[in-house]
Every structure is written in C-alpha cells, then in structure tokens.
C-alpha cells in the first residue's frame, strides 16, 4: 500500500507563491480562492530574527475529521495513497468539513461544493508530481510514497529534522516541513 506525503524544505523555500499560482492554473481554481497558500512565521525581535516560510495546503490526514464528519460521504479517502478527496457531485456544501478542519484547508467553490487540494491525484495517477511540486523554482518540495523506504520523502524524513502542523489535533497530518 502506498501512502503519499509531501515534504517541504523550509530552508530553501523563499515563499514566492509559484506553488499557489501553479495550482490555480492546473486546477482552474476560481478567482478569490486558493487551494494552497504561503505562511511566513517570524520569531524574535529586530534584528535577531528567525523566519520560517511554509507552503501549506490540505494535510491529507491519516485521521481526517473532514471525512469522519461528512454526512453524504462526499469527503472520502481515495484508494490510492490515502489522499483525501471530495466527490463534487455528492457534496451538498453543508460546510461541516470546513468547520472540522484544523488547517482551514477547505472552501466552498462558487459551484457549491467543498473544494481543496487533491495532491493533484490526476497527475499522480499518471506518474507525475503534483503541479506545485513540479514548478517550484527552488526545488524545495517533494512528493512520494512514505511506505517506500527508498523514496526521496522517506529518506528526508529519516535524515532531517521536521515537523508537521498542529499535531496535537490528532489528525495525523501528512505534509511535513523540514527545518
């Protein structure tokens, strides 16, 4: 069984938003909405500062509250790689999933359904990287199967310090940030 994860090297990320733009064009995300976004965390006071820049998105959690709370089954875990997806035609736009997501990763598409990052499953199924990963000019983003010990993502997680977002929420997020 494959388990897809994303690993992002914050030491290289410059926060240029190419990942956000690429997602927008690849997936025709409507104006005013984004499926991924950049966060800049500043710690310290001038001039002794630390800045962590993160490209964030749906964490495709192993314990996804959005799936658990969905009354119609539209939010589901895909058979390939544990990716969390929304079946647009089954979604009634009730926003239960929006409320349940600790990462604020979802929005209601103007066409009425809950929308979010899909890990570009349509590309992954063809053996390609998600659009955000494939365009990143700093090559700071990696995608792969964490169940495969030889994958790039497994190697990074075995050798580098990393963290995930709001682990205390218990959702088992699958996007990891290298320090």
């Amino acid at each position: 069984m494959a388990r897809f994860v994303m690993v992002i090297d914050t030491s290289k990320c410059v926060g240029c938003m190419d990942c956000v733009v690429a997602c927008k064009t690849e997936n025709k995300v409507p104006e005013g909405f984004n499926r991924d976004w950049i966060v800049q965390d500043v710690i310290g006071s001038y001039p002794t500062l630390h800045l962590e820049i993160r490209s964030e998105r749906c964490n495709h959690c192993d314990a996804p509250p959005c799936v658990y709370c969905c009354p119609t089954g539209a939010s589901h875990v895909h058979s390939l790689g544990g990716v969390v997806l929304v079946e647009h035609n089954v979604c009634i736009g009730c926003k239960a999933c929006l409320a349940s997501c600790p990462y604020d990763a979802r929005f209601i598409h103007p066409d009425g359904y809950a929308d979010k990052c899909t890990f570009c499953i349509h590309r992954v199924e063809k053996g390609m990287d998600p659009a955000c990963v494939s365009v990143c000019p700093t090559r700071c983003m990696y995608f792969g199967d964490v169940d495969d010990p030889n994958s790039v993502v497994s190697k990074f997680l075995a050798s580098r310090k990393y963290h995930s977002l709001i682990p205390e929420a218990g959702t088992k997020p699958q996007v990891f940030f290298l320090a």
Binding site: V14, T25, L51
Partner: protein, 731 residues
C-alpha cells in the same frame, strides 16, 4: 558546429539594436496559427516568457483551443524547466479583461483619458504624419524612443532608420547602470544581463540590498536555492530582514545609505589581515599600493559609527569572505540607483571582488557566452546630424548607454536641442522615472506622444496615440541570443491569437516604417522569413527551433581555470584598483565615503523593492497574479507602530518631504525592518482608470520619489533619498 563568439560585451548595445527589425505584409499580425477553428486536445507550444525581461524558456499548454497553463521548458538554460510565479501566472496577461483592445487617438486634453477608437491604418498614418512634421521642423533627432525589453527591437530599428540616435531604456539610469559602469571601470566589462554571477558554485555569497527570492530573477533564485542546499556561507546586508536575510549565516542590519562605509571597512580588514588573493592581485591588478594606502582610515571602528554594524561582525564577515576566496561572490545587485553615489559604491563592490580574486573564477563571476547568430543585413542607418540629446558635452563622462532622464531634461529645457516626439514601448514612465511632475511637464512640450503597451498604463493615459500590442503569448519577437553560461538561441512564438485588434510590435514597426517611406529597411514580408535568414546564416534550423523553443550550443569554458583568456579591457589592461581615468575626469580614483543625509525628525526613509508575484507596474491587473497580491503594504517596525498607535492592516497615507501624499495603503507591522525606514513593494497605487482591477490599490512608491540625486559619473538617479511621515487614513 555553430561558431561561438565570446566576450562581445563592448558591442552589445550596437548589436541588440541591429538585431532588430522584422516585417510582414498587412494581412495579419497573428501568425501562422491562422484558423479560428479550435483544435481539440492538448497542444504544447514552446516560447519564451515576457512577464519580466529574464526571457525564460516556457512551454504553453493549449487545451481545446484555450490557453491552459505555462510551464518551464526543460531544455532552456534560463528556466531550467521551471518558471517563477509570474511566468506561471502569465496566462493572466492574455485573459486580462482590462487590456487595450484597439488603437486610440486622444480627443481631449492630455491625461484626461478621453479617446476615439481608430483603425490601425488611421493610427499609424496619424503618427507618420506627425513624425514627418517633426523631422522637417526640428530634425529626426527630435524624436526619442523609450523602450524596455526585447519586444522593442523592431521599433528601435524603425526609429534608427528614421534617423534618431535618442533611444533609451530606464534599465540604465534608473536601475543597473551604475553597477555596469562601476564594473567597467574596474574590470573593463559589464556584469551583463542575465548577471554573470556564479551563485550556485559560490561557497560564500554576499548580498547587499539584493533581495533574491522576493526579486524573482529565475535563474538567480534557483541558484540561490542551490547555494543554500550546498551550505554556502551567506551574508546579507539590508535595512530590512529580507527573505534572503532569513537564509543567511550573518544578517547585517545596516543603516540605509552607508553601504560604502561597510565595503571600505571590509576591504581595509582584508588588506590589513592579508586575506586577499595575493597572486591574483599581483598578476592582474593595477595601482594596488595606492589603493591600499587609501583604505587606511576606514577601520571597522570607524565604519561602526556610520553603519551601526559592530566592528567584530565586520571583521568576522571579512574573514569569512577571505576563507572561501576565490569562491566568494559579492553580488553586484541589479537595481542599484539608491543614493546618487551608486557608481562608486558599485566600484567598491567590484574592488572587493577583485581582492578576493573572484572575477573569472568558479563561485565568483563566470565568463558568459552567446551564440553567434548574425544580425540581418539591413541597409545602413542614416547618420544623425547631431549627437544624442541626453548627455550634452559628456556631462556624465562614463554613461555608455542613453540616459532616459537626460532625454526628459532636454524635452523640458529644449537644450541642447528640442525634443518634440516620444515613442514609449512597454515601459510605464510614470512609475519608472522619479519625479512624476517633471515627466508630465516634459510631456506638455511634445508634439507627439505615442505609447505601445498591452494594458492602459499611466503613461498610456498621457499619450496622443495608444497602440495596443499583442501580449507575448500571441506574438513573435526577436530571437533571444543573450549571454549566459553556455550559448543558446530561443524563439518567442504565438501560442494563441490576440483576442481583439492587438498587433505584434514587429508588425507595428514595419507598417509604420512603410508609412514613413522607410519600407526598404524591412526587406522581407514576414517575421518568420527574418528568423530563417538569420538562423540559416548561423547554421541553425528554424523548424527545429520552432519545435524545441531553444537550441543549445556546445559547452564552453566559463572560468580562467578552464582556459578563458585572461584579458581586462581597461586602459591599463589590468584590474584597476586605482583608476587613472576617474582621476583624469576629476573623480575619486578609489571610492571615498560621504555620510548620507539624516532623516528629518519624525520621518522615515522610504525604501522600495519587489514582490515575487509582480513585475514593475505591469502585472497588477493580471487577475491570477493580483489574486496572489492585490495591493502592497507599508512595512513599519513594531516599536514605531506602537509609538504611532498604528495597528496591523490599518490604512494610512504617506506624505513625503515635498508634501506629496500617497494613496491609502495598509500598514504591515513587523519586526523585519529597521525603525528608521519604511518599505513599499514597487508598482502599486495605479491611477489609470482603465486598470479597473488595480486602480488605487496600495501606494505608489514612484509618486513619492520626487527627489533624486544624480550620479555624477553616469547620470543615474539615486532614489532612496525621500522621507515620509505616516498619517492614519479612513478604512
């Protein structure tokens, strides 16, 4: 194999002008795409980007006849298969609903933006009549062209054929000019564009105000990420804690305007502690002993009082540079028109690199190469009867390109001779030149102002005639044969058709030439004929280029150690530590430091820079990019915000020393900037009503740059000399 020419730097400006030109019969501006019928399925068409001037190789995806997305071309050396966010968002330029659609002729007073839509024939006929009148009354030199980017090549050709030498770009006097002059005076050569900086191989990288990562020059940012990955020792000098600063081992929070003091102190330490590359300096240097003697007063303790950087930090960072020499790259920057002493500061950067032996060495400055694609054999241009108007009596003796602000000055004063017509191509002079009022006054002296643009920019609002150009995804442009690590030739070709009556610049230039009676300067019918002619002469195949988008040449040596001949085209033939040509012209042969003007009480120095998702003032109406960033913010240090009672995201206005008040702008309360300055991303605060989406969003730094200090060596306009106060504004 194609013949490759190396190091034609001194020829570059002449060459790019004569590369120009193209032409085609009236039938169509939009190429061989031809048919209106939309093809089913996905087509991948290679081209190169124009969202900035970097010209990254791209592949556009057209799905069922609609532009879907644009990716980097993996064969292209500039993009290395990946575009920056602006390039990725380039389709927003094609779909922008605020684009110029048809040619326009002004109907009311200049600047009122009241127009009549006309045909291309009428518009070009009107322009040609006015240009002929200017020629007969004042001579052809009374026409000037302001042009930015490779798209302007064709119009340059027409204007050269018309007989004017007054062709300029803001990239010299408002941007990189001082840097290139400073390096020429030292090494005899420019830093060039794309910069010949070997960032990826640098073991120590020094950035002085360069904000790579926010400034998205694609290859440089990619190499910056390589340098981070390689654990290069990064030193960042900036009054603002930039993204680059967050990647640095040392961040030096310098007081604005004192960089030269730091550079002199660094050199003082490097010479005093024998950290420099002695063999390199002895072999290639001229006047080292005199140079070293001049450095004596500039101790780190002295520099501390100017810069606020601790003496120990100055010493430690100097030693770090020495440790990794010659793979220490002190980056020369790009937009360096800061204080008016910019050429001497840039020369100090060149001298520091010279001490470290990094010029011509791996991890320093490489030797770039271009593919030898001969220019089209045009008839010779008429020789202008008068010298260029921008720099009378060589007032700025080291200006090797035309000074935009010099043309503006001549237009205002009529001296040394009147300028009566401006052609403006793809550069929004209202945002690009300092002191908007001078630009607008100069425009009042014109008999003709023509603007070629894709969007209704502010300068288009002042025009007599506006010509709507096809965006880069809809047009051919000249071949890109720029210098880089290895030689290449790239093609820009149409991917989709223009949505309305827009035309490519090569067509506009050719048609205008025809109406001016200069048709013989366009001896072929179609721009593709022009490409084929040049490529055949270079032994290259046009069909292959069309298919691949880029043709690469053979790898060539980039460094002295790889066999690049060691030559310095300076007067002494060596690296000029001490410059006799500067001395002869009455300037300091070794840079000397002068303290910058202090902030008036209660005010903040206005600094400006770039955001990764915007280019100049030309992308704010691109709906994809504006979705990333729709307005700018003014960065204010937290302690200052506290004292002034300002909240994050609150709207304020900025008022400068000349009582100019900005549009309202949000405050970004942040620890990431010194308390004595504020910062704006350039390009916002549009006042053109046609830019419906960007109109009055954020503040324009350019509007507040009423004061500028002119660089006495080359006429560059130092623009970081403006001070603002902050007033709350209504939400």
């Amino acid at each position: 194999m194609n013949s490759i020419s190396r190091r034609r730097f001194m020829k570059i400006s002449a060459a790019t002008i004569s590369l120009a030109a193209a032409g085609c019969a009236l039938k169509s501006g939009t190429s061989s795409l031809g048919t209106k019928e939309k093809r089913k399925g996905i087509q991948k068409i290679p081209t190169y980007c124009d969202i900035c001037f970097w010209k990254c190789g791209a592949i556009a995806y057209v799905k069922d006849g609609e532009l879907w997305k644009i990716e980097g071309n993996p064969d292209d050396p500039l993009s290395r298969g990946r575009l920056c966010p602006r390039g990725t968002g380039g389709i927003g330029a094609h779909t922008d609903p605020d684009r110029l659609r048809t040619p326009l002729i002004r109907k009311r007073d200049r600047g009122e933006e009241v127009w009549q839509e006309v045909t291309w024939d009428e518009a070009l006929g009107h322009i040609a009549d006015k240009m002929q009148k200017i020629k007969s009354e004042y001579g052809p030199e009374a026409m000037a062209l302001f042009s930015h980017g490779i798209g302007g090549n064709f119009l340059k050709h027409t204007l050269n054929a018309y007989g004017t030498p007054n062709i300029s770009a803001p990239s010299f006097a408002q941007c990189r000019g001082p840097r290139d002059v400073g390096f020429r005076l030292t090494f005899g050569e420019d830093v060039s564009s794309p910069e010949r900086t070997d960032i990826k191989n640098a073991r120590c990288l020094v950035l002085i105000g360069s904000h790579l990562g926010e400034n998205m020059h694609n290859s440089q940012v990619q190499e910056f990420a390589d340098a981070i990955q390689n654990n290069a020792s990064i030193i960042v000098v900036d009054p603002r804690f930039s993204v680059a600063a967050s990647k640095a081992k040392w961040y030096l929070p310098i007081k604005p305007g004192t960089d030269l003091a730091l550079l002199l102190a660094w050199m003082n330490v490097i010479v005093k502690e024998n950290l420099y590359d002695k063999e390199y300096v002895t072999k290639h240097g001229f006047g080292f002993d005199q140079f070293a003697a001049e450095l004596l007063p500039y101790s780190p303790e002295w520099a501390y009082t100017e810069t606020g950087i601790e003496p120990d930090v100055i010493r430690e960072t100097a030693r770090e540079m020495g440790r990794y020499k010659p793979a220490t790259l002190v980056h020369p920057g790009r937009h360096v028109t800061w204080y008016g002493d910019d050429t001497q500061r840039s020369r100090a950067i060149a001298l520091l690199n010279a001490l470290l032996g990094s010029w011509g060495r791996k991890g320093g400055f490489y030797y770039p190469i271009s593919m030898d694609v001969p220019a089209y054999p045009y008839p010779a241009y008429p020789k202008p009867a008068r010298e260029k108007v921008d720099n009378p009596n060589q007032k700025y003796p080291f200006a090797h390109e035309t000074i935009t602000t010099g043309i503006r000055e001549a237009t205002l004063t009529g001296q040394p001779y009147p300028v009566k017509g401006w052609f403006v191509y793809a550069t929004n002079l209202i945002h690009a030149l300092p002191n908007e009022e001078e630009t607008i006054k100069a425009i009042q002296n014109l008999d003709l102002l023509v603007v070629v643009d894709v969007i209704p920019s502010e300068i288009a609002g002042w025009a007599d005639v506006v010509l709507p150009e096809s965006v880069y995804l809809e047009r051919h442009d000249d071949l890109n044969v720029e210098w880089f690590r290895d030689p290449f030739t790239a093609l820009r070709q149409p991917v989709v058709e223009s949505p309305q009556d827009q035309k490519p610049n090569w067509w506009i230039a050719k048609e205008l030439a025809g109406k001016l009676g200069l048709g013989s300067y366009f001896p072929w019918n179609d721009v593709e004929e022009y490409f084929k002619h040049r490529l055949t002469a270079a032994g290259l195949d046009y069909d292959e280029l069309k298919k691949k988008g880029v043709i690469r040449g053979k790898k060539q040596p980039n460094y002295f150690e790889e066999g690049v001949p060691v030559e310095f085209p300076t007067p002494s033939g060596k690296i000029e530590f001490y410059s006799l040509q500067l001395q002869k012209a009455g300037f300091d042969p070794v840079p000397k430091y002068t303290s910058p003007e202090q902030n008036p009480p209660g005010s903040f120095r206005l600094l400006y820079g770039r955001a990764p998702v915007h280019s100049f003032s030309r992308t704010q109406s691109n709906r994809i990019l504006s979705d990333m960033m729709s307005e700018n913010e003014v960065w204010v240090n937290s302690s200052i915000a506290g004292r002034l009672g300002l909240q994050n995201a609150q709207y304020v206005t900025l008022k400068n020393q000349d009582e100019i008040v900005s549009n309202r702008v949000k405050v970004k309360v942040t620890e990431r900037i010194r308390p004595d300055c504020v910062y704006l991303v350039h390009g916002f605060g549009h006042t053109s009503r046609g830019l419906r989406h960007a109109f009055r969003k954020g503040a324009s730094d350019a509007q507040l740059l009423t004061r500028y200090n002119t660089d006495p060596l080359m006429g560059g306009t130092g623009m970081n000399n403006n001070f603002v106060t902050i007033e709350p504004a209504e939400a």
